[in-house]
């Protein structure tokens, strides 16, 4: 019962955050609502006994990605100018039906699979030590690859984000 309530609360938070993030006009509000949705998901992970992943989700999504998004919003002045109400009707009818169609398909397929109505395995826990050992043994290659990938992404982001020398800009 308690679990159900907690789940419903977290799900409501997540969905509300997500909907708000996609519908609000002010981009900063959108970003903050998205952060709320991410935090709600982290809570759901915790509820699913995935402590480590939950904290990692909190640390990375709320602590890093949300901040990044907010920075980008400010740097692109998205928060100030809103020419002709970004959410114009023309773009709404292009996007929402497709989203709704996909959603309908997904829900239909979930509902069509009776085997999915099942209860969780009891006494599941994922100690950090075991995660660490798996990362260092079975998943060591993916781990190294991810490290390389993140380094490359970091360098790439820095290179892309660097202000270009003035001379190469044609209209300045």
């Amino acid at each position: 019962m308690l679990n159900e309530i907690a789940f419903l609360l977290c799900a409501a938070l997540t969905l509300a955050g997500a909907v708000a993030a996609m519908m609000l006009r002010n981009l900063v509000h959108c970003a903050l609502c998205a952060a709320g949705a991410f935090a709600g998901l982290a809570a759901i992970y915790l509820q699913l006994d995935a402590e480590f992943v939950g904290f990692a989700q909190l640390l990375i999504y709320v602590g890093a990605i949300a901040i990044l998004i907010v920075f980008t919003v400010l740097l692109t002045r998205g928060a100030e100018i809103q020419p002709g109400a970004a959410s114009s009707a023309s773009s709404w009818w292009k996007g929402v039906p497709v989203g709704a169609l996909v959603l309908a398909c997904l829900i239909w397929s979930i509902m069509a699979s009776p085997s999915l109505v099942r209860l969780p395995s009891p006494n599941v826990h994922a100690p950090v030590k075991q995660i660490g050992e798996q990362l260092m043994n079975q998943f060591v290659m993916p781990l190294e690859t991810i490290g390389l990938l993140l380094t490359a992404a970091l360098l790439g982001a820095v290179v892309i984000g660097l202000r270009e020398p003035r001379t190469s800009e044609p209209n300045s």
Binding site: K94, G95, V98, G99, L101, V102, C105, L106, W108, A112
Partner: protein, 657 residues
């Protein structure tokens, strides 16, 4: 013995490293470069002494290793330590050390001091490697490296056209001999299947292989060709006098004491291959060279050239000794000659240095007062070279050769030629000393000559002492040297000095030497008082003969007229062939290609291009049509993806249901 053989490779490696380091040093690091070279050669000297000490007690030791394989054969290399190599290594290292030190003073003003020491160290490394090589192939490599170092050092002052020409001449002439050597070496490999000298009974010098050789006389003579080139024997002697264009320490080290002796050493090293027939040739060539060069030396006026011809002549003696008397006789003269000829060259260098780069003996005179140390040591060297009896090393070693020639079964002519050479040697050396040191100064430079610094005179003194002392190791009364090389032991027996075989020869040569000295002294002692421009007394007496001798019997001119002209003509012919015949052929092919290309262009224009134009138009049209799908609107792509996903999902579920 076992322990030293493992470190034998260090002997050439130390100077090689010094040369490598010296090559990388900037020009201004003069002291570092010289210090490196001298330190390295000191290490080599000490190691050589240790190796020598080891050979006193035991025989031969080898250390072989595989260089590379091809197919089933493997090429082996290695080091050998035996009395022959050890005595040579000690001699080379010691003379090199002294000459390196001497060069400190002699080359002090030269701007390329660093380069000089780099080359010297390279030479020493190659020479020492040659001495301890246990493979004819390795020997040949070091041999060529020695030749390279010699080339570099003769042409050290390459700004002088004569030096550059002399370097080229030395390189090319020795190359002719080396060609024979190479052919002989390959032939030997074909026959013996190995280049190792000693390999536990399998080496090419050991009885198992050397005994059964076919055509061994031809091989031996081909190898002797190399020795002829390197040691300046007739007919390849022409490069050695010209090599005196290099700095004097180089002349002393390379073209008197060590490198030119390498030819003799080569014969000594491969002595087991030398058949009686080959030895006969060796003896004859040596005898002719000895007299021929000595007679040329009589009429020269350049102090270093006289010594150069003297060197050629003495090398002839060594060859004679090898041919008639065996390894010990030749090697003994090689060793004594190395010391006193190095001494003479360094003394000559000191004189030249003192007289402000003057080399003409007619412009000197009276230097005994101004260069006392040089004079004293030079006199010792001169007497050693002339073979003044009893106290000087040259006497004992030359006497051993003459004795061997006297008992040679082949012919008595070399013996008399040797005697004639001894007389000539005494004559021209006395002439030189009289001209340079006695009498009165002939020019202002000679009057203002000065003694060289101690860094130059100390090596002179050491070499003078050695020039006297080394001889006592090989007297007939105590033939230690010969016994050492043959692996036996020598007892002291004064009576051998007096036996009826040796005494007459000894007395005869002594008399000839005395005659040479006295006659020459009589002529030039008086002549040295006259002005320099006046003709030589001998020229006055026999103008035609003297002119002929002064022009070195026109050998260079003969070579110019024959070999060089022939080569030039052949080169011209090749040039013509290349320009007219081959060039014409190439031009014809070009024309053909051009014509084909023109044809091709026309075909291309009318047929291929049209076809491709149609094709590309079609492709472009299709591309334009397809590109409408990719308009850059990411959201549209995403929409398509979403719809496609729905479609796939529906299909999937349909299939399941």
């Amino acid at each position: 013995m076992e322990s030293i053989i493992q470190y034998l490779w260090l002997i050439p490696t130390a100077p090689l490293l010094a040369a490598g380091a010296g090559a990388l040093l900037p020009r201004r690091r003069r002291r570092l470069s010289a210090g490196l070279a001298i330190g390295a050669i000191s290490i080599s000297f000490l190691l050589s002494c240790a190796a020598f000490w080891a050979t006193l007690h035991s025989g031969r030791a080898t250390s072989n290793f595989r260089w590379f394989d091809f197919g089933t054969t493997s090429v082996q290399m290695g080091w050998v330590l035996d009395p022959l190599g050890a005595i040579m290594a000690v001699m080379v290292a010691l003379v090199s050390l002294l000459i390196f030190i001497y060069s400190l003073g002699y080359m002090a003003k030269d701007e390329n001091f660093t380069r000089f020491f780099c080359f010297l160290a390279l030479f020493a490394a190659a020479m020492l490697g040659l001495v301890i090589a246990n493979s004819l192939l390795l020997f040949f490599m070091c041999w060529e490296l020695v030749g390279l170092a010699s080339y570099l050092l003769i042409g050290f002052w390459f700004q002088k056209p004569s030096a550059a020409a002399a370097a080229k001449k030395a390189f090319i002439v020795t190359r002719i001999g080396d060609l024979g050597f190479l052919v002989g070496m390959l032939w030997l490999y074909a026959k013996a299947g190995t280049h190792l000298f000693y390999d536990h009974g399998q080496g090419c010098l050991e009885p198992a292989a050397a005994g059964g050789l076919v055509a061994s006389t031809a091989i031996a003579l081909l190898i002797f060709c190399g020795a002829v080139g390197k040691s300046g024997q007739i007919p390849l002697h022409v490069w050695l006098p010209d090599a005196m264009e290099g700095p004097t320490p180089v002349s002393a080290l390379i073209h008197a004491a060590t490198m030119v002796a390498a030819g003799v050493f080569l014969i000594a090293r491969v002595y087991p291959l030398m058949t009686p027939g080959a030895l006969q040739v060796v003896t004859w060539v040596g005898a002719l060279t000895a007299v021929f060069a000595a007679s040329i030396a009589v009429a020269q006026s350049d102090i270093k050239r006289i010594l150069a011809y003297s060197t050629v002549s003495q090398l002839g003696y060594m060859m004679m000794g090898l041919g008639a008397g065996g390894v010990a006789v030749g090697m003994f003269h090689l060793t004594t000659h190395a010391f006193f000829k190095a001494l003479l060259f360094l003394g000559a260098g000191s004189v030249i240095h003192g007289c402000h780069e003057e080399q003409d003996i007619r412009k000197m005179g009276g230097l005994r007062l101004r260069l006392p140390v040089t004079f004293a040591t030079y006199a010792v060297g001169m007497m050693a070279l002339s073979g003044v009896p009893l106290f000087f090393s040259g006497f004992w070693s030359k006497d051993a050769i003459l004795d061997a020639l006297h008992h040679w079964r082949g012919s008595q002519v070399p013996f008399y030629l040797g005697l004639l050479g001894a007389f000539l040697t005494a004559f021209y050396m006395t002439r030189q000393v009289c001209r340079v040191f006695l009498g009165k100064p002939m020019t202002v430079e000679a009057e203002h000559a000065h003694e060289s610094p101690p860094v130059m005179t100390v090596p002179l003194l050491i070499l003078a002492a050695l020039a006297v002392m080394v001889g006592f190791f090989g007297t007939p009364a105590w033939p230690w040297f010969q016994a050492y090389l043959d692996g036996g032991s020598a007892g002291f027996d004064l009576s051998k000095l007096m036996n009826e075989h040796q005494l007459p020869v000894m007395l005869l040569s002594t008399a000839l030497v005395a005659a040479g000295i006295v006659w020459s002294g009589w002529i030039y002692g008086r002549a040295s008082a006259r002005p320099a421009r006046e003709a030589d007394p001998l020229e006055v007496a026999q103008p035609a003969l003297f002119a002929c001798v002064q022009k070195k019997f026109y050998v260079d001119e003969f070579y110019d007229a024959t070999v060089v002209r022939l080569t030039t003509a052949f080169a011209r012919f090749c040039d013509w062939l290349d320009r007219v015949v081959l060039g014409g052929l190439v031009r014809a092919v070009c024309w053909l290609a051009l014509a084909l290309a023109r044809l091709d262009r026309n075909v291309d224009k009318s047929v291929v291009n049209e076809g491709f134009d149609i094709g590309t138009e079609a492709v472009r049209g299709a591309g334009q049509w397809v590109s409408r799908l990719q308009n850059g609107q990411v959201q549209r792509y995403l929409r398509v993806i979403g719809l496609a996903f729905c479609g796939l999902l529906i299909l999937l579920l349909w299939g399941c249901a």
